[in-house]
Amino acid sequence: MNHILSVLVENKPGVLARVSGLFSRRGFNIDSLAVGPTEDPEISRMTIVVDADDLKLEQITKQLYKLVNVLKISDLDPKDSVQRELVLIKVNVPSNARAEVVETANIFRANIIDVSKSTLTIEITGTADKIQALEDLLRPYGIKELVRTGKIALARGKLAEVTNGK
């Protein structure tokens, strides 16, 4: 099962390497990882999506907590959190199909952010389902390149429940 871990870490050099190294070395799989500073420049938030059962998730959080630079971990409940991902998709579009693709993008409230003779680059944010749906519709045209930020998420309303450990 996929879990979204929201991990507050000290914003120091090497912290990303410590966290990602821990995952690979202990055989935990990262689906996605997004990182950036929070409202406090000394603290960064990592949003890590992992595919793990309960036992494995417990090991992951416990091992993460052992890293001295890790301050707080929340396992975000999908129902009680808002999640977004941003994806840029560069699609092959012959001029006769351009209108069609633009229309599809509009339906998804995606933005066209770059146009060339034979391509359109589309920016979409949203949930995984929505992004997947657009990707599926665009695939027949030929997706030339695609980049995603990885999921970012915040708990709704009050603060997220912190998993025990520290």
Binding site: R18, K62, Q63, Y65, K66, V68
Partner: protein
């Protein structure tokens, strides 16, 4: 006061109470060695290989309970230290390692003797630091010692670029500091402790499984009190050896791959395991899916990540084992319920002990077990520390040396590092100059570090190096004998192994070769009395095996060997008839 970073480092170490550093100099640590040159408080022990600086600091820490400190140069000096860090990491040993680094302005340019040692050692340190601002140096030292020695201890590395060592600061050792992401739990959960107490009182077949965590917490008195209060048999891990006297009537000695049959049987038959300061390592559990099938498990450990990692646990208690055991004893005393009748359990264990004692054969050749047995006997009553190599020598030492005091048995557990024995003995002897220190070692293991006989000689350390010389990488040979059809691939050391007596002599150390079983006792006795370094080369039975043995992947009650009278060096079933034709040497319970 304006001083250099190097001087600030030494002052900070003084503030931490450091009295000895094990190290080896080089280019980028010149400023630090210069600051050490006329320092009167801190003694520096010059080793002959950086790995030994690390292991010696490790041995010092294990023998004294203090944080061990080592100091090496950048690049090859630092990479030579990696094995020692990994060793300390696996066994949770408090250590601070200081490495020099190239100057900050050339970091990342593949400068001469640059190695990314903080990157390299992330997986084998509790934490590490690259100092980029000399003003941070004192607080980093403070934090490093705090991290290394508290919670679940471990090695911490501080990497100091040479320009940082030369830069000047106004030195003030920080009094107050915080490590925001570090808050070990010491006190156990009261409700869980109460539950545990109830289970303990109700259990009919309880066993205590005690490990290195008890050494770190200094909880051996509490362990003994609890075991005696509730009359629970105790088995210890390799790391826990000594936390409960091997000679105690409740002792089951060591469990696991080369544990006693009775310890393993007790675990497998028990209805309650009280696991304290242990991590259910695979060398202890054997096949996990069949481990202790009837037992409820109470697991006390300061590291929450160890609880439930390998084996599901019924009552997890995160906390310091001294604090938790104290509370647990109080909780048991408070219970008004009568303790369950354990007579049947004691009788069963007594039968096993009688039927399957640790034993060895005596037939005119020097059996390695006999040498260890004599060391154990002759050192009785003295303050003794035994360190070991890795392999058969280590397992015989664990089986036949009776450790009755904590910090008296020092061995590389988690990493199984050949070459640990000699430098660990050096560290232990320096930390406890009055102790009688034995390094029970293998002919293979000691050749990994024999250059540090120089350190023994230079410091006149009265260590007794007892090499159980079988001319083989014996433990590997044993596996080849048992599981690879006796195809002895690359394990014969006879050709090329030095004459150890001459080797010792070359270093100015007394060397003695013992080839006759009659001489073992006398030579050991004289060596103990001499209080000078001695290397004894015991020519032991070449193809002796360590038994009992749990085959890899087997359940821990499926053991090979270890039945008195049964045939030697063979896969032995429990059902196999006892064969009285083999003389039994010494039998011990």
């Amino acid at each position: 006061m304006r001083i250099t970073g190097a001087e600030a480092l030494i002052k900070s170490l003084e503030m931490e109470g450091v009295d000895v550093i094990f190290g080896y100099p080089g280019g980028v640590v010149l400023p630090i060695y210069d600051a050490l040159f006329d320092n009167a408080t801190i003694r520096h022990i010059l080793v002959r290989h950086e790995q030994c600086a690390g292991h010696a600091a490790d041995g010092y820490a294990r023998a004294t309970g203090k944080v061990g400190v080592c100091l090496v140069t950048s690049g090859p000096g630092a990479t030579n230290l990696v094995t020692a860090l990994a060793n300390a990491w696996m066994d949770s040993i408090p250590m601070v390692a200081i490495t020099g680094q190239v100057a900050t302005h050339v970091l990342g340019t593949d400068a001469f003797q640059e190695a990314d040692i903080t990157g390299i050692t992330i997986p084998v340190t509790k934490h590490n630091y690259l100092v980029k601002d000399v003003n941070q140096l004192p607080v980093i030292v403070r934090q490093a010692f705090q991290l290394a020695g508290s919670g679940r201890p471990g090695p911490v590395l501080i990497d100091i670029p040479v320009d940082i060592s030369k830069a000047e600061i106004d030195f003030k050792y920080p009094k107050n500091f915080t490590i925001p992401g570090y808050k070990p739990t010491y006190k156990g959960h009261a409700k869980q402790i109460k539950e545990a107490a109830k289970l303990i009182v109700q259990a009919e077949k309880p066993v205590i499984y005690a490990g290195g965590g008890i050494v770190k917490a200094g909880a051996w008195d509490e362990l003994k009190e609890l075991a005696e209060l509730a009359q629970i048999p105790v088995t210890t891990t390799l790391m826990g050896k000594g936390v409960f006297p091997d000679d105690h009537p409740l002792s089951l000695r060591m469990l696991g791959m080369h544990g006693t049959r009775y310890a393993n049987y007790a675990i497998m038959d028990s209805d309650l395991i009280l696991a304290v300061g242990v991590r259910f390592d695979d060398r202890v559990t054997g096949k996990v899916s069949t481990f202790a099938p009837h037992a409820k498990i109470i697991h006390i450990d300061i590291d929450p990540a160890e609880i439930g990692k390998n084996v599901p646990v019924d009552i997890p208690i995160v906390g310091d084992s001294k604090v938790v055991l104290t509370d647990l004893i109080a909780a048991i005393k408070k219970l008004s319920t009568l303790h369950a009748d354990k007579m049947g359990w004691y009788e069963l264990i007594a039968t096993w002990k009688k039927k399957y004692p640790l034993h060895y054969h005596q037939d005119g050749v020097i059996r390695p077990e006999y040498v260890v047995d004599k060391i154990s006997e002759l050192s009785k009553g003295r303050e003794t520390i035994v360190t070991t190599g890795v392999g058969q020598n280590q397992m015989w030492a664990a089986q036949f040396y009776s450790a009755n005091k904590p910090r008296s048995f020092i061995s590389s557990g988690g990493l199984g590092t050949m070459g640990f024995g000699l430098p660990a003995a050096i560290g232990a002897q320096i930390g406890r100059p009055d102790a009688l220190v034995f390094d029970i070692d293998g002919d293979g293991s000691i050749q990994m570090v024999s250059q540090d006989l120089a350190t023994v000689a230079a410091n006149k350390l009265p260590i007794i190096i007892a090499i159980l010389n079988n001319g083989y990488l014996g433990m590997v040979r044993q596996w080849q004998e048992l599981f690879y059809n006796r195809r002895y691939s690359q394990v014969d050391l006879n050709v090329g192994t030095p004459n150890f007596v001459k080797l010792a002599d070359a270093y100015g150390i007394k060397g003695i070769q013992v080839t006759q079983v009659e001489d073992v006792e006398a030579v050991l006795g004289q060596s103990i009395e001499s209080r000078e370094p001695v290397l004894i080369d015991f020519a032991v039975a070449r193809e002796e095996n360590v038994f009992p043995m749990v085959a890899p992947g087997a359940s821990i009650d499926e053991m090979l060997g270890g039945i008195p009278g049964a045939s030697l060096s063979q896969m032995i079933d429990e059902e196999e008839e006892e064969n009285e034709s083999y003389p039994i040497g010494s039998c011990r319970e």
